[in-house]
């Protein structure tokens, strides 16, 4: 039923047994298994609670990358109405690793940009596994500029392992595209909210992740380089990813303590993929509350955003 992670093995075993019993009962091969199923379900819930009680940073990396985790378009579809996606950078092409456009959120106009990883082989390939090329960032810049022109607040949903490392991407100015996108989002006059829903992978993430308020899901990660990359460069040993994940402080809880993010959105027991509707609803509630704060207290959003970033790291 789920793609189980290695540390979820006890849960997988129990849920497997439950499934078997249920099948037997359905086929009439077993009778009076109701009590046994209830007992196993309780044990399996306990096992899940145990597994998720204190996830290590490396386990969070696995949860953040879980293939069944809700992705950008799941949020867009559930939270927004009248979503009108825009396409293309008006210079070279359309990059579906970044999706975005305009929509309504609880009736109010909203601009949305996010990285989409895809949810099956076909859509993963179509969205390049959520790793954008320069065209994606240039499309993001277009949407940001439009949002500013029409005074529409911006929400970004961050979920990428990183910007795509390829020959074409380099030739067409991957670095410049990311830098320009960061600069544009920092300079917006409209208020902005950013939510790291899965992986915040380095420059490829920050390009759309600077906002007046930045939130992370409970098991999301956000880092300067992937744990695998850090292990291979700093330890010269790719098997040290767990150490890299721990030492680099990449969890939502670490980032809140370092005052990089403004809040954490709790995930259901067993991670966002076990109850996508619940986590999407919590995210929507927080977006609504934050937009409400912006409306109630309209400030110079560009200035607030800039000063917030300049202040980072100065009061640790």
């Amino acid at each position: 039923m789920y793609n189980y992670l290695d540390f979820e093995k006890p849960v997988a075993d129990l849920e497997g047994k439950i499934l078997e019993l249920k099948k037997l009962a359905e086929n009439g091969e077993a009778v009076d298994v109701g009590d046994e199923i209830a007992r196993l379900e309780k044990r399996s819930r306990d096992a899940l609670r145990d597994a998720y009680k204190a996830l290590t940073p490396w386990q969070k990396v696995q949860v953040a990358r879980h293939p069944d985790r809700p992705h950008c378009l799941d949020y867009v579809t559930a939270l927004f109405t009248d979503f009108t996606p825009l396409a293309g950078d008006r210079a070279f092409g359309e990059d579906k690793a970044i999706v975005g456009g305009f929509a309504r959120f609880q009736g109010q106009p909203i601009a949305v940009i996010g990285q989409e990883k895809g949810s099956d082989t076909k859509s993963r390939l179509e969205h390049n596994f959520g790793s954008p090329r320069p065209e994606g960032y240039r499309k993001a810049v277009r949407i940001m500029e439009l949002a500013d022109r029409f005074s529409i607040p911006l929400v970004t949903l961050v979920d990428t392992a990183g910007a795509y490392p390829g020959v074409g991407a380099e030739e067409r100015g991957q670095a410049e595209a990311i830098a320009r996108s960061t600069s544009t989002s920092l300079a917006l006059k409209v208020p902005s909210i950013s939510v790291v829903i899965g992986e915040g992978g380095s420059g490829g993430a920050i390009a759309i992740a600077t906002a007046n308020r930045v939130f992370m899901l409970e098991h999301a990660i956000y880092s300067v380089i992937s744990p695998e990359g850090a292990a291979s460069i700093l330890w010269r040993d790719t098997t040290r990813s767990k150490d890299a994940a721990t030492n680099m402080k990449i969890t939502a809880q670490d980032l809140l303590a370092l005052k990089i993010i403004d809040g954490i959105i709790p995930e259901p027991l067993g991670g966002a993929h076990r109850a996508p509707e619940a986590v999407i609803k919590s995210t929507g509630d927080l977006i609504a509350r934050t937009l409400g704060e912006f409306t109630a207290n309209p400030i110079d959003f560009r200035e607030q955003r800039r000063e917030k970033y300049l202040a980072m790291g100065r009061s640790l």
């Binding site: 910007a163 795509y164 490392p165 390829g166 020959v167 991407a169 380099e170 030739e171 067409r172 100015g173 991957q174 670095a175 410049e176 990311i178 830098a179 320009r180 960061t182 600069s183 920092l186 300079a187 380095s202 420059g203 920050i206 390009a207 600077t210 956000y222 880092s223 300067v224 380089i225 850090a230 460069i233 700093l234 330890w235 010269r236 150490d243 890299a244 030492n247 680099m248 402080k249 990449i250 670490d254 980032l255 370092l258 990089i260 800039r306 970033y309 300049l310 980072m312 790291g313 100065r314 640790l316």
Partner: protein, 306 residues
Amino acid sequence: MNWITNFVRPKINSMLGRRDMPENLWIKDPESGEMVFHKDLEDNQYVIPSSGHHMKISARERLKFFFDDGEYETIENPKVMVDPLKFRDEKRYVDRLKDAKTKTSMEDAILSALGTIEGLPVVVTVQDFAFMGGSLGMAAGDAIIKAFETALERRRPLILFAASGGARMQEGILSLMQLPRTTVALDRLKEAGLPYIVVLTNPTTGGVTASYAMLGDVHIAEPGALIGFAGPRVIEQTIREKLPDGFQRSEYLMDHGMVDMVVSRLKMKATIAQLLKILLKMPVDAEAEAVPMPLVALPTEARPQA
């Protein structure tokens, strides 16, 4: 290593200065293998005379070669929290920092200064690759921000010489945050109508290119410099193909529209001074003591922005 090499040698070294006692009086051109006498090389700003190969130089040498008469006033870098994550990989980060400080006699990877180029007052900030690969962490980030703020206060253009392997991984997310932080600082300079020139030197890669090094009003590259976002090895592993000849080198970037010009180190000052004097609308015969014309001719809104 014992206490003598740890504590005595660095002091003696710093008293004598790094370049005063080269281990070899003859330096080998990595391109042609030709041996060049170190004094000749220094006189030629560490550009190999026959091949034109640009060697890496320290931030101090960069400032000395670039400013008029080699004179400048250093901008003091802000103090920042050291090792915020208490990071260790194979080695403790604080020890890596100590080694880098000893090796370069710098506090971190950035050196900024005020001075003039062909009479024009400017702010220059230089990244030193010798200090932990010129990596961008909190100290470097704050130093760059301070340089931009100084340029803004004094209404001077800023020239940044980039040389970096990217973000300093030992500072984790705090190093990534230097991308937006430096971007804020440079955008404010541009919005004030002051020019920002980037000189890309060998090598400039990673997060540094994904922020201030690619946001200049004008991009100049030194010949043959490696410039790119993803490292060539990572790209090769991803696409499983051999990379094109000259990939991610200055001339390649020029062909692909990412830099405005590739300029020899020996002509760098003249090229930048000439352009800046035009941008700042200075008279043709502007000499030393020149001050930029007051920027009152255009209303703020009409001025070109970032």
